[in-house]
């Protein structure tokens, strides 16, 4: 490039390199100071070359304390010094690795103090427009993965019926409006608490991270949605930065990440307990649908009644079952005894009969003996019995004064009789 500059000062021999400018020697050729030369060349470079894209491989990447980046761009035959000042370098998603193929947009200039010409880089890209973003994303993803933070087992289930939903997003964004309108439609009994934050630009990642912390640690929200509406890779970048990922990972309550439109997966999507493709979808994911609950509640009384009836029937079944089991048990237990009883009864009956027969025979003999003692038998032997009309047996003289009518019982009947008074005793 230097060849293009039609400047012939290099053809002359400088004599006093450290002399201040504009001090011409008394005689001989005009001598330039180094500063003069460098300033002149710098002017030439800056004035004659438009900003340009330069492609090459990154080498010697260093970062100064002030945040400026110094490196070289190389191809197989040449290299070019480059500097990217902190202001621009801050917007880099990541520092490129040694050897990364990049393209840099910048202006050529000359660093006067050293006489080095260099490219002042305004913008640096790798592998197409999103290359460096992709690289930064992969770097952080790998790091978090190594820590086990992307493990699906870490993901917590969302509460089925959150009483309070936390939202971390821009207060001005469409995302908040979308979320609020979905929650109002599906679950208007829900309390919604919003923590506003910038979601893009310088320092947005830290701000989002702090907002997530404040929300998740407030103890108010049962579940937290963090996100924003769609945008360019650069707009969404904060959600690919480590502070946001760490804040989500540290949350004591489940976090739903909802960044942009479906296509882009961000780091916060990966570490969140649930990834929603859009803010609206996140809102739908965190609350149940009112109609679904109403429907479910409507069925509960029927289920309760059925369960109650079932319970009663089981009771009744249990009672009937036990009764019949008891009956069977009794029968089984008493069967042998009943046989014994039957046998005993039979024996008793037999014994009774035997005893009865004996009595009967004995009765016969007793009757015969009684017969012998009976008054009838006495009557047969010739005695008779005198009895008054009222049945009194008349035994002595006093019972039979003269004129007493009485009966005489004889062996085959009765006869009427009358006393004629006592008969004198022949012996008295």
């Amino acid at each position: 490039m230097a060849d293009d500059l039609s400047l012939d000062l290099f053809g002359e021999e400088p004599e006093e390199p450290e002399e201040p400018p504009q001090q011409p020697a008394p005689a001989g050729p005009k001598v330039w100071s180094v500063s003069q030369v460098n300033r002149a060349v710098r002017g030439l470079l800056e004035d004659s070359v438009e900003p340009l894209w330069v492609g090459g491989e990154v080498g010697g990447w260093t970062r100064s304390r002030a945040g400026h980046r110094y490196f070289t761009l190389k191809d197989d035959r040449a290299q070019l010094r480059c500097v990217m000042f902190a202001r621009e370098a801050e917007r880099l998603p990541t520092d490129p690795d040694e050897g990364t193929e990049v393209r840099a947009l910048g202006e050529l200039t000359l660093y006067e103090a050293r006489g080095d010409y260099q490219l002042v880089v305004r913008q640096l890209e790798a592998e197409g427009a999103e290359g460096l973003w992709r690289i930064a994303f992969e770097k952080l993803r790998t790091k978090l993965e190594a820590e086990g933070l992307l493990d699906p087992a870490r993901k917590r289930p969302l509460p089925a019926y959150p009483a309070c939903v936390g939202v971390v997003t821009s207060l001005e964004g469409a995302a908040l409006r979308d979320i609020v309108s979905v929650l109002a439609r599906r679950a208007p009994w829900t309390r919604v608490i919003v923590r506003g934050t910038r979601v893009q630009g310088e320092g947005a990642a830290l701000e989002i991270a702090r907002a997530v912390d404040a929300m998740t640690r407030s103890g108010l929200a049962d579940v937290v949605i963090v996100g924003r509406g769609g945008g360019s890779v650069e707009d969404l970048w904060a959600f690919n930065e480590e502070p946001v990922a760490r804040a989500i990972v540290a949350s004591p309550v489940p976090v739903v990440s909802a960044v942009g439109h479906e296509v882009d997966v961000t780091i916060s999507d990966l570490v969140a307990d649930l990834r929603a493709p859009t803010p609206s979808a996140a809102a739908e994911g965190v609350v149940p649908d009112r109609d679904a609950i109403v429907h479910r509640l409507g069925r509960v009384p029927v289920q309760l009644a059925r369960a109650l009836r079932g319970s009663a029937e089981r009771r009744r079944g249990a009672v009937v079952g036990r009764m019949s089991r008891l009956a069977r048990t009794m029968e089984r237990r008493f069967a042998p005894r009943r046989q014994a009883l039957d046998r005993a009864l039979a024996r008793l009956e037999r014994d009774a009969r035997v005893a009865l027969d004996g009595r009967r025979r004995r009765l016969g003999t007793l009757a015969a003996r009684l017969e012998a003692l009976s008054p009838l038998a006495t009557l047969q032997r010739g005695y008779s019995v005198a009895r008054s009309s009222d049945g009194q047996v008349l035994r002595a003289l006093d019972d039979l004064p003269a004129g007493t009518t009485f009966e005489l019982r004889v062996t085959d009947g009765r006869v009427a009789a009358e006393s004629l008074g006592p008969v004198p005793d022949p012996e008295s």
Partner: protein, 77 residues
């Protein structure tokens, strides 16, 4: 620190209790007396939950740096 408050009157608590009640009633070892009590409790939860569901307006608040909240105006459609 967990955010879920042990609030027995929340919709979540009621629906959860309803699940428990149904499971208990459908199990074998619940007496008739107990089943009746559960039934009544269940019906009460259904009534209360329906009241919650009929709430009309979404409350939106903003979390302030102090940790307090204040109502937030939103232009939801």
């Amino acid at each position: 620190m967990t955010a879920s408050k042990p609030d027995e009157t929340s919709l979540e608590a009621r629906l959860k209790r309803l699940d428990e009640i149904l499971a208990q009633m459908e199990s074998d070892d619940v007496g008739l007396e107990q089943a009746l009590k559960l039934f009544e409790e269940g019906v009460a939860h259904v009534r209360e939950a329906e009241k919650v569901l009929s709430a009309a307006e979404l409350r939106v608040e903003e979390l302030l740096a102090s940790g307090e909240t204040r109502p937030l105006e939103t232009d939801e459609g």
